[in-house]
């Protein structure tokens, strides 16, 4: 069974790459894709990056998405609508702790719903 994938969206490339290091120290087998900054690496968000990250993170068990501020959420919602699937959940949990908890839960082989619920319970 594939593990639930995670997508980390931030206005800053450095935030998600740092968070990725933090999680990878503990969890190595869960798909994690990053969408940090704009197309040219500046501060902001990019629908194209988010779209690619979500598609890549889905190994068949769905994707849980974490975001930081403002437009990150709107862009994530737009991508979820465009992809027309219920296998994407956008989590309202804080980016760092939420993604950390989700990585551990996903690594236990839980389903998308279960991982999302577990994260919700923590915050």
């Amino acid at each position: 069974m594939a593990a639930v994938g995670l997508v980390l969206i931030s206005h800053s490339q450095k935030i998600v790459s740092g968070l990725h290091d933090l999680i990878r120290q503990v969890i190595t087998d869960v798909p994690i894709e990053l969408a940090g900054g704009t197309e040219d690496g500046a501060i902001g968000t990019s629908v194209d990056k988010i779209m690619k990250a979500i598609q890549k993170a889905d190994a068949g068990a769905g994707v849980l998405v974490f975001y930081d501020l403002g437009s990150a959420k709107m862009n994530a919602e737009m991508v979820a609508e465009m992809l027309e699937t219920d296998q994407i959940i956008i989590s309202e949990a804080p980016l760092v702790e939420g993604a950390y908890v989700a990585a551990v839960e996903s690594n236990m082989g839980k389903s998308l719903e279960e991982v999302n619920e577990a994260v919700k319970k923590e915050f």
């Binding site: 197309e39 501060i43 968000t45 990019s46 501020l69 403002g70 437009s71 919602e77």
Partner: protein, 206 residues
Amino acid sequence: MEIDVQTAISWLNKANEKMQAEKDYLTKLDQETGDGDHGINMARGFSEVENKIANGNYETCADVFKDTAMTLMSKIGGASGPLYGTAFLRLSTALKGQDPVDEKAFAQGVQAALEGIQQRGKASVGEKTMVDVWQPIAAYLQETSAIEAAQLEKIAKEAMEATKDLIATKGRAAYFKERSKGAIDPGAASSFYLFSALAEVLKEAK
């Protein structure tokens, strides 16, 4: 008055001209209450739109607006990307298959665009966002029996200026709470330029 492919293209090119001319001003507004990227975002987005539609071969203005939506969505890079992108996508969907588009259909399209912005950003009137300009414009277009360019521009301008005294409760400016008061909302300003571009194009078309 009718809107056809050529009017739609002229509108967007004129809007681009304004976004380039007002780039620094929009950025300045966004520095007051946000991250100072709105001018750059809008200038980049609309210049990509002008390039994109210059190379298209369009049969209906819905197709022009669809390409506009996709380009703005992927090129703006801030909150206004998904918001303007959704607006033009809804406008395109509402006008699908019609060409030229009459005033009534166009008015319904703008109403659909407004609803799209609100669905995407969850903002209502009075939260110091672009909604504060789109809403009165959509209402005017629906009420009037014949669009008057001068009136259109006036409504947009007054609506934009009225955002000055509001406190932002949506978007990045909301973090500034009370301090967001006193400056025009950047998205309301760029929306004013968009509709003032439309007013100019309609005036010329007469």
